[in-house]
């Protein structure tokens, strides 16, 4: 059996036709797996627990920021000067990941392609560790194209080619103009579950009242898999309540909130909550728990084995950029930025599909906030969680959100992508934009034209 995985918006098949990879299940799946949303926890575990996931994250560490998710385009770009100087991926270059059936056993490949409607060149590498250190090769290649890393990539790609096309010479994967044979996609690993395409979170005509006070009225909203929906609004506009309706810290007075298609008022609320990461301002850390216990909280109450918890904690600390030494510290011994990182790590501990974040960066100084926002973007682009993010800061909303939902007086005013939000003629949106002044367009566009 031969499976084939591809990351990207489009590939050109043998006849030169361009097909959106995302239309193929596998493309969707890989987008889901590699960069985020969970479609089948077991498959994900097979595939990415351990080293493969590790190196994807390591790639991220080297500033190959995955820019694509929101653009429906799979583009890694060297987004800062440091990696650009060290010969990182050129701006706009895409990273395609291709693989064979044994990906989760030992094989697999990474290809570097250029951005465009169709990837035109692919440099690929086998994951097989005996022959090529994938991570090393990839980094080498990024730092020093044409040197050892690329040689390694090239060497391994010939093997990949034979994997891909079963010995036929049709698919020139590496170093050439890619000819992608749709036959490559014929056999999928049988463990792959059908991708669930419905919205992950759905508000159907939701109202919420406390006594006589109407907090929310008639909210209709859908949050799609892998997107970051930002709830924007002033204090008291109902954004936090909206968030709490998702993990049922509040139950709707009327209407229905559905998570993965199931109304929150049905089923086990504890299980619902454990499948949803929750990050609030720094006060949410348990002051009497060490960092280690704070992060390991959900795995522990879920009854994971102690070694697994330890390994997970170390992985998470690395993921959020914290030193191992802080594991034994208490929250009050940390800086604000560190606390917030611990909060994010704690929310991610049991690898939930959904992440709820309630003004997580609100209490931080501007520099730390900027740093954490940048890390959040990078993290989100590699994990692709379904995120609902509450903020009153328009700049933050435009920067982080794939869509921005504006709330006012318990109502949902409008839901728009950032680029459109800044140009919106809606009175509330316009008022918000006016209050924040100039320069927002560039924030909304995030340097991606």
């Amino acid at each position: 059996m031969r499976g084939f995985l591809y990351f990207g918006d489009s590939v050109t098949d043998g006849d030169g036709k361009t097909t959106a990879a995302k239309q193929w299940d596998i493309g969707k799946i890989v987008a889901d797996v590699g960069y985020g949303g969970v479609f089948d926890a077991r498959f994900l575990e097979n595939l990415f627990v351990g080293r493969y996931f590790q190196w994807l994250l390591h790639v991220d560490k080297f500033h190959l920021h995955f820019m694509g998710a929101t653009q429906e385009r799979c583009a890694f770009a060297a987004s800062d000067a440091a990696s650009a100087q060290s010969g990182g991926l050129r701006e706009g270059e895409s990273l395609a990941v291709v693989g064979v059936e044994s990906l989760y056993l030992e094989g697999g490949a990474v290809g570097l392609g250029e951005q465009g409607d169709a990837p035109v060149s692919h440099r690929a590498v086998d994951v097989h560790e005996d022959e090529c250190d994938l991570r090393g090769a990839l980094l080498e290649c990024c730092r020093n194209p044409g040197e050892r890393g690329q040689r390694c990539l090239r060497k391994e790609s010939s093997k990949l080619q034979s994997y891909c096309v079963g010995g036929k010479s049709g698919g020139r994967v590496a170093g050439n103009h890619g000819k992608w044979n749709s036959g490559m996609l014929a056999d999928m690993p049988s463990t792959v579950a059908p991708a669930n395409t419905g919205p992950v979170i759905e508000f159907c005509d939701v109202s919420y009242r406390v006594g006589d006070a109407q907090i929310l009225a008639g909210v209709n909203l859908q949050v799609q898999r892998g997107e970051t929906l930002v709830l924007l609004g002033r204090s008291g506009s109902g954004k936090t309540t909206t968030l709490k309706l998702v993990n049922r810290l509040a139950a709707p007075s009327a209407g229905e909130v559905r998570v993965r298609g199931v109304p929150t008022t049905e089923g086990d609320v504890i299980q619902l909550r454990r499948g949803i990461g929750y990050v609030i301002q720094e006060v949410g850390l348990f002051p009497h728990f060490t960092v280690e216990r704070n992060i390991g909280l959900v795995p522990r109450i879920e009854g994971w084995a102690e070694e697994k918890i330890r390994a997970r904690i170390e992985e998470l600390l690395q993921l959020v950029g914290l030193e191992r030494e802080i594991m034994s510290r208490y929250p009050h011994q940390l800086s604000g930025g560190q606390r917030q990182r611990v909060g994010v790590a704690r929310a991610l501990a049991a690898d939930p599909e959904i992440l709820l974040m309630d003004e997580p960066f609100g209490a931080l100084d501007p520099l730390t906030r900027d740093e954490l926002q940048r890390e959040f973007l990078a993290l989100q682009q590699s994990l692709e969680k379904t995120v609902v993010f509450v903020t009153h800061d328009l700049r933050e909303a435009l920067r982080l959100g794939s869509r921005v939902a504006l709330m006012e007086g318990g109502r949902l005013v409008t839901v728009l992508p950032p680029q459109e939000f800044v140009r919106s003629t809606d009175q509330w949106a316009a008022a918000y934009v006016k209050a924040f002044g100039d320069g927002l367009e560039s924030v909304a566009n995030r340097g991606v034209s």
Binding site: K244, N247, L249, I270, Q271, L272, R273, R274, G275, I276, G277, Y278, I280, Q281, V283, G284, L285, F286, P287, H288, L297, V298, I301, Y330, R346, A347, L356
Partner: protein
């Protein structure tokens, strides 16, 4: 320093009575904690119980101690042994500070912390034992501390019904109109109270530091 010489001369008896005193206070405080902390948790979680429980504990507190000892005297099993009776009375008195502090302590836990725990899928039980009680512990302990200090004082009165303790010296001294005998009871009792206060205070502080 007549009283000091008296204590030295009667040191065996002083030690014995101090032991009795400690026993009365220790057992009653323990009982009060065993009853009072769950009650405090109960009223912190379901406000409906708040008034009856705190009200009841308040009323007990208003009963003069001698009168309470008197009330309890005719109760069959209790009245049979003075120390049982004294322990019950002291337990009742110790309840109020413990219940009240447990309540205050749990209500005082940062709501955001509790909500974070709940939001992450902790059960109510896990929240109580892993978050609320540990965080309220220093406040609860300061309630216990108050209860102990009150009990050390009150336990001297238990001697009036023959329950023993350092009150023996005090009542004897009163009957004999002899200061040194009164002081031989009062001073060790005061030292006990101060010592307990200091010791529990240290413990409380070490809990708060975390």
């Amino acid at each position: 320093m007549n009283w000091f010489r008296f204590i030295l001369q009667n040191r065996e008896q002083v030690l014995e009575l101090t032991g009795e005193h400690l026993w009365l206070v220790g057992i009653s405080t323990l009982l009060a904690a065993v009853i009072g902390i769950p009650l405090g948790v109960l009223i912190a979680r379901s406000p409906w119980w708040n008034k009856p429980v705190l009200g009841g504990a308040n009323i007990i507190q208003t009963i003069p101690s001698l009168a309470l000892f008197g009330f309890l005297l005719p109760v069959p099993w209790l009245g049979a042994r003075a120390d049982r009776l004294a322990i019950l009375a002291l337990t009742l008195y110790a309840l109020l500070p413990i219940i009240r502090n447990t309540y205050t302590g749990i209500r005082g836990v940062d709501a955001a912390v509790v909500e974070a725990g709940r939001g992450m899928g902790m059960t109510e039980r896990q929240l109580l034992f892993q978050v609320q009680l540990p965080l309220a512990m220093s406040v609860i302990l300061s309630g216990v501390r108050v209860a102990v200090v009150i009990s050390v004082g009150l336990a001297t009165i238990a001697a009036a019904i023959g329950a023993g303790g350092l009150g023996e010296f005090i009542f004897r001294g009163l009957a004999m109109v002899d200061d040194k005998v009164i002081l031989a009871g009062a001073i060790p009792a005061a030292i006990l109270a101060l010592g307990a206060d200091f010791g529990l205070g240290r413990l409380e502080k070490s809990l708060r530091a975390r």
